[in-house]
């Protein structure tokens, strides 16, 4: 999504119409981002609101080198992570066991392309995960963070990040299998 230069200039000048245009353009996609870090819709909208305020506050520092949407998304993610840290939520269980890379490999994992699943269903699967699983999975898979970066952002060890990811994947896989079996069952019944 490309943002019009006049909208950017208007936002830098603090013009409300331009700020509204920017909001209108990106609010839906950014709310989907915030949703992955929030416990419910209210919290996601809180994050979105706070995120937009930060975007408007820092928009003059956007260098126009990369994508504006990517820059904005990063602000939303940072804001969400700050909120999680600020509110003293400690969802990460520090596992004593060191997880070897080999342990992460799940032999049953299908490498092929699974059947398409509606976005709402997938989002709900992510949201139903324990918070630690959810945040690590989202950062690793959706935002392409490394374990090192996740560990640094969340003040946890890399091993914890790996464990949480492993558990998140297993849980999601179970949920997907459940979904497929229900779907198959319904299909047969139909």
């Amino acid at each position: 999504m490309i943002v019009d230069e006049t909208i950017l200039e208007g936002c830098i000048a603090g013009k409300r119409e331009a700020q509204y245009e920017l909001y209108r353009k990106f609010a839906s996609s950014m709310l989907a981002v915030c949703f992955r870090y929030a416990r419910n819709r209210d919290e996601a909208e809180d994050l979105l609101q706070e995120g937009f305020l930060k975007v408007f506050q820092k928009i003059s520092s956007f260098r126009r080198e990369g994508s504006f949407e990517g820059w904005m998304k990063r602000i939303m993610i940072n804001n969400a992570l700050n909120e999680i840290k600020k509110n003293r939520r400690s969802p990460f269980l520090e596992d004593i066991d060191v997880i070897n890379e080999t342990q992460i490999i799940d032999p049953d994992e299908s490498a092929g392309n699974p059947d398409p699943v509606p976005a709402d269903v997938l989002l709900e699967m992510i949201r139903s995960l324990p918070e630690g699983y959810r945040i690590v999975f989202t950062l690793y898979v959706m935002e392409d963070f490394s374990h090192k970066e996740i560990a640094s952002e969340l003040s946890i060890s890399e091993n914890t990040s790996k464990t949480q990811l492993l558990k998140a994947r297993r849980a999601l896989k179970n949920k997907l299998n459940e979904y497929y079996s229900i779907k198959k069952h319904n299909f047969i019944n139909e």
């Binding site: 603090g14 409300r16 700020q19 509204y20 909001y23 609010a27 839906s28 996609s29 709310l31 989907a32 416990r39 419910n40 209210d42 919290e43 909208e45 809180d46 994050l47 979105l48 609101q49 706070e50 937009f52 305020l53 408007f56 506050q57 909120e83 509110n87 003293r88 939520r89 400690s90 969802p91 269980l93 490999i105 799940d106 994992e109 299908s110 490498a111 092929g112 392309n113 699974p114 398409p116 699943v117 509606p118 976005a119 997938l122 989002l123 992510i126 324990p130 898979v141 959706m142 935002e143 392409d144 963070f145 490394s146 374990h147 090192k148 970066e149 994947r169 999601l172 896989k173 997907l176």
Partner: protein, 478 residues
Amino acid sequence: MSEEQKPQADAHSGLDNLFRNTLDSHQIEPSRGLWKGISRKLLRAELRHFNFSNLPKAFWIGAAGAVLVGMVFLFNQIPDGKTTENDYSPIIIKNIPKGNTTSGSSENKSVRTIRNPLGFSGGSSARVIQNGPSVRQTQINAASPSLAGNISTRITKTNKNHEVILRSETASLSPSGTEKQFREDRLLTSQERSTNSYELKYLPVLSGTNLFPSVDEDTLLRFTNLNGITNIPLRTHVEIPQFFTFNMGISPELSMYRNGDQYSETNYWLNAGMTYHVGKFSVQTGIGLGYVFDHADYRVNYKSKDSIGYFTSIISFTVTPGNIIVYTTKDIPVYDSLQHAADDRAISRYTYLRIPLMIGYELFESNRFSLGIKAGPAISFLIGSKEALPFIDYPNARLIRVDNNSLSRVKMNWEIEAALDLEYRLVKDFSIYAEPSYKHYFKPFETQETTSSKARDPYSVGIEIGARYNFGQKKNKP
């Protein structure tokens, strides 16, 4: 985002790609009122960072002029607070025989003759003998003589520009015995108020009891005994009551806000305040100690050995004569260590200190009851907390972790309060009061709620009940 290699990515690429590809372009429509919230916050931030130094000089000159004009206006409106009692002695009106228009020098009193506003005509003259310094005289035609006199005279104040009304009630008696009563109101002029002199307008006293042959003696006596004006408590300045009151009260409150769902909490405040009253206006400040009760949410994670199923174990078997094998079995339960999470909610107590600054106005006042309104800002600080602990009693379980999901309370909050003040005076300086109030908070109670629309505008309703004592100059109370 990361340059780091993800060695096992391939192993999970199907799952990861499914989520990544599906959710990457996913969009969720925000609530309709969300932009309004952002816009309001932006406006608030702009006002907060408003730089006064950028304003043009013309604005400053205009503002200074406006302040000056305002101060002059205010200075002219505020009374000096000094009061001067009228030092006039009672003015006595006497009935004087017809034709006697000379001053009553024998009584060593000044003579003041008055007009005839009711249009009585007659040949007799009237003289008012007054202890005051001024002497004036007017001839009044006494062709239709009558007796007249003041029944009462009162000074009353009006709210408008501190005007003073002189109300005279007079009665007259005609020679035929007809009695009439009149009432006249007039404003004292500023000159009269400032110089302690005034001219009374009331019925002329026409003299001569012999002129009333048809009137019985009692009536004549009653009229001749009517004094003109007595004891007028005229003050040259209207006194504005100024005094202090001290109050103490307790206020239960219900605060409403949203944290996921609509949510409310009960607070109790113990307030003490001092109020300075000037006329109908008042300024109040004080201190309040509030006990706020809020939920604390915990998630307790524990592991316990739970039965996950059973298997059938063969204990023995026998072979019947017909070669049928009969097994004796027993179901053996299988246990495994399973992780559980249980949510627990407890009640935490927080203590706040609150300092208000309220401006009040008295709308109505009777002998015992008064009704007023007041409004103003207040600031409150979190000064203590007693956080509740989760209830953990899971037999045969191993506690893994306790997550405190409670939101932390804000350390400082601003609010604006509006209240009705209903006061009932028990004795002269002691009263009880009830104050239903509404408070609007500028910040949410908890740090998490920084942006959601309802959570951003929490409010509370309550009623303070307490007692009040008047200090300093007393009110004119029962």
